[in-house]
């Protein structure tokens, strides 16, 4: 029994699941509308956009690297798609090129980090400014309106009470989870982040592994950006501002280790969901505007503390 409890509580995503359930129960008591279908739809409307980015960020963190430029990639793909569509390109091709641009950003991040052996935090901080500037240049200053002919249904139309983006999100969760848990690449990612030198000694091409993770991270950020721009009917140059910190926080809350080698997709997804739930619950709780950010910050830190405490207790349990 003890060993079962230990095994369950030691999993990085279990403690965040418990905290999420506690948060849901608390807000449901404070705000009656919290569990109403309408409010659930509000939370699940924005959750895929942040969650998809958090998945990429978490995978990269497991491999031992960071990407601070995800917010800029988030804006780059839709901006490029809209501008190229306006120039007469087929919308699918235009947005495909937008995603390809994000792949290029991922490659650049990997190249800078690996070839010059500089911390990814610094390398991607640089690309964040460069890519954000490219987005502004593409927009020509003013944000272009979303063309009417964009095929948006496959991403944001309602399927029953939920948007199609939620199902894309679920598919990505499953695919990336399988990638991490059931493939050689997944094992290499954990090994690379856990001990880079040991992984090299085992014959793992850690450069290739990290490059794949950087590219996946930037690609997912761009894809999520396209979803959000379609949903809010706007490709603003400011899309995704601050997303880098939010998604790193989601990954950490979900049990991803800052030093690499530990973490799961489900944990990052739950971390992102918890951040959205805290934000939503505080609005419903009618927190005064001047106290709002303090409440978000305090609850986020509290969630990480509870998460760490639970995992430490689990490790202390004798099997």
């Amino acid at each position: 029994m003890r060993s079962t409890i230990k095994a369950v509580l030691s999993r990085p995503e279990i403690s965040v699941l418990l905290i999420t359930l506690i948060a849901v129960a608390s807000f449901a008591v404070i705000a009656p509308a919290f569990l109403s279908p309408g409010n659930i739809r509000v939370v699940l409307g924005i959750a895929p956009e942040v969650g998809i980015v958090a998945i990429g960020v978490a995978v990269l963190m497991i491999a031992g690297e960071f990407d601070i430029s995800v917010g800029a990639s988030f804006a780059l793909a839709p901006m490029m798609g809209v501008v190229l569509t306006q120039l007469g390109l087929d919308p699918y091709l235009a947005f495909g090129l937008g995603l390809l641009a994000c792949v290029a950003v991922g490659l650049a991040n990997a190249g800078l980090t690996i070839a010059f052996d500089i911390p990814s935090f610094i390398a991607t901080l640089g690309t964040m400014f460069i890519v954000r500037s490219i987005v502004v240049l593409l927009a020509g200053g003013m944000p272009p309106p979303l063309p009417d002919e964009l095929p948006q249904e496959w991403l944001i139309s309602f399927v029953g009470p939920f948007r199609a983006s939620l199902f894309w999100y679920l598919a990505i969760i499953v695919l990336v989870s399988l990638l991490l848990a059931r493939t050689n690449l997944g094992n290499w990612i954990y090994a690379t982040g856990g001990d880079n030198q040991a992984a090299k000694n085992l014959g793992i091409d850690v450069r290739l592994v990290k490059t794949i993770c950087f590219v996946l991270c930037a690609f997912l950020a761009g894809f999520a950006g396209i979803i959000q721009s379609f949903r809010v009917h706007a490709a603003l140059t400011s899309l995704g501002t601050g997303l880098e910190l939010q998604t790193i926080a989601a990954a950490v809350i979900g049990g991803t280790a800052l030093r690499g080698g530990v973490g799961t997709v489900v944990g990052a997804v739950l971390g992102a969901l918890l951040i959205r739930i805290i934000d939503n619950g505080l609005v419903l709780s009618r927190i005064d505007s001047n106290w709002f950010q303090m409440a978000v910050g305090a609850l986020t830190v509290g969630a990480v503390i509870v998460n760490e405490t639970l995992r430490r207790r689990a490790r202390a349990i004798r099997a």
């Binding site: 309408g38 502004v136 809010v232």
Partner: protein, 325 residues
Amino acid sequence: MGYLKTTLAVGVMAALGASAAAAQDRPQYTFVHPSNTSNVFYQAVQKGMMDACTQVGAECQMIYVQNEMDIQQELTNFEAAIAQGVDGILATMVSDDAYDEVTQRAIDAGIPVLAVTTDDSKGAAGNARLSFIGQTLGTAGYALAEDVATLFPAEGPIHVLLGVSAPGQNWAEGRIAGIEQYLTKYKADTGRDVTWERIDSGLDLAETGARVAAYVTQNPQTTAYFDAGFWEAGAAVALADQGLAPGQVLLAGFDTVPVALEQMKAGYIQRVVDQQPYLQGYLGIHQLDLIRRYGLSGWDVDTGRGIVKPEDVDAIMELSQQGIR
């Protein structure tokens, strides 16, 4: 070959020298503000500024900061402009105290300084700047609320949600204070049951949309939502997702950006205040140039309390996309 190289080098140097001399002859004006290049609003201000600079033959520079609302970096840029000895400075002043010393130093050095877009809340009494060109925040908020109130249902209680996009910052607090001022008056004048609540609505379309939709789900009696910026457009999308009909919750905000105009056309946004950012940049440069040329005094200009209604959208849309309105 050697002769050719020497001739070319001398030619290039002469051209560069002539160009530098020409640049030195032209007045130099600098605009400092605490926004980054992603801020749509300042792109329109910059367009007005640059058009005016071309007309007066000035060399102009608008300096953005890296992180939105980084006042410290704006002040550093302000000081750099003073050290450079420019002929005039336009500055957005989002704090009552932070700009006092640096403005006084510029004025003492003979560099005219005008507040543009946002001013010290005490106006000329609070800062040595020569004039303010922009929207009188409280007045604009008051005018917006006054206009939206004509759309309130004739009977029953009124509950208003106020989105303070950036709590603690002059521009957001000033506008919301104006709205609250009118709601107080409306309540007193009509004797109706009028309540309102403030939330931190954020500076992102998706974020604001999620927060406003959540609030309305919890408080379906909400009559209207006022945003301190243009993020009511995000609220419009989120409320439509919730199945609310256009006008079920009245939406209003500031700035005629294309996304807000589109939602106005769709019927979800009822009123927007146009503070005419183009005019702020344009008039700022012309005023500085007149001060420099003829020693005229500065004069305040209220560029924006014009209310845009759905019937105005088509006329404004094209100009908005060009960054003029």
